[in-house]
Subunit: 252 residues, 2 copies
Amino acid sequence: MAPRAASKTAETSDKVSVICRALRRAIIEQALEPGAKLPEDSLGERFGVSRTIARHALGQLAAEGLVELRRNRIAVVATPSWQDARDAFDVRIQLERLVVRQLAGKLTKAQIAELNAHVDAEDRARGGSDPVSIRLATEFHILLAHMTNSPILIRYVSEIAYRCCLTLSLFSRPHSSECAINEHRAIIAALVRGDENKVMSLMHSHLDSVAGRALVAPVPQRGRDLLDILAPYAEEAESGRVVKLPKAARGR
Amino acid sequence: MAPRAASKTAETSDKVSVICRALRRAIIEQALEPGAKLPEDSLGERFGVSRTIARHALGQLAAEGLVELRRNRIAVVATPSWQDARDAFDVRIQLERLVVRQLAGKLTKAQIAELNAHVDAEDRARGGSDPVSIRLATEFHILLAHMTNSPILIRYVSEIAYRCCLTLSLFSRPHSSECAINEHRAIIAALVRGDENKVMSLMHSHLDSVAGRALVAPVPQRGRDLLDILAPYAEEAESGRVVKLPKAARGR
DNA sequence: GCCTATCAAAGTGCATGCAATTCCTGCGCA
DNA sequence: TGCGCAGGAATTGCATGCACTTTGATAGGC
């Protein structure tokens, strides 16, 4: 349909990438907080695979910087430092600059519609601290990257956007996604006009406004059980595609 | 010694990362040409590990874009398209721009010495088509990235530099590394002077001059046996650190 | 009461085994 | 000579098993 080619840079087979996607979502929606333990056994049990597969998935996520792996130790959700966050945003701005340069004035009608639809979805899922709206805000940028049709750019922007999302959950107060949504709309408009410079400055200030926040101490929630947390994500992983809200599922 | 921190972004344990390093070198030195098959068994046999580990290493390399993995198929060394190459260089220029910005005028004496030593090594290993000199030229950029102390930047620059190196082996005629070496020296000088703009333009034209070449048809060499090709790399992997020239080893 | 040694439980590191799939070689046929 | 097609060899997909490491709780010494 949309010209979205070759996105799978790695993503071995099926099972592994399914688990990766599920965990990625669980992490950026903060169902799994930074520091949360991810034992191979539990993961395997939850997703109905052996440790081997769970392990492989953890390896991938570690390569993406979402998970920390230390020899002989339980894998944990990554806890990026403040400096990491700064670096990540620096890199991100450069990468998104490339995206903008390639896209300005070159969006097809279908793509414009897709972008608008996405922002509409953001609008619907509003509510600053709602994890789903945070995910959607991040995925707006990933959607843009996809439209460049450059596998490398897609991968890097996706990765770093997820990482930034993760760090935000650590360092930022619940961000009012309302303004972010308006900024997204402005970016689309400028992209359509082909006003590259305008988009650049919009994107820059957009990312800055998202990044430049006060620091809030992280509160690790140890109480809930991993198996419970992952239940909705595992369900979705088994049956078909992305469910809109994770709390919707919850069967067995 | 040198201020080179936290480089292991993923790199699971020991064995896996050792194999990754060995394969990475074999690939960028063109001992393994694009399209070369990498069966798990052979890899495991060559490096004295089980398929499990070899498989994991292949997964990592696939995530880095050096290896292509398709379900139920033998892994092969990646064969980037021409468009991939262009995209990669675009991204690379942006990333190296960040490196330069962070480093201009801020190099320590030790770092300057290290850079000079590296270029001296390039000089010694001269000879345009010598795979080792190609590797060293690539690693100059990676060395620069390391000096930023930004794990993200280090990882991305390393990855993309290797990928560019791989694409060059496909699309570029044997590049006279002599000029590259001089350009490297000029970059060091400008970095030391802190002349950011100068470094930027140097780096830009440097990468352009490396990237902008005519297209040569790839000639897949099917003859040699994987086990033979990898012999020197496996040896080095077992015993200690980087050997200067791969053909040096070759024991059993 | 507090610190430390010890030991079982939990978890990872890695190899191996079996099933399923792909590959490839040789054969029949046009 | 060229082409399709079987069937065995090669190879991957995945689970499981065992050894080793870490963890954390408990008991003993100070």
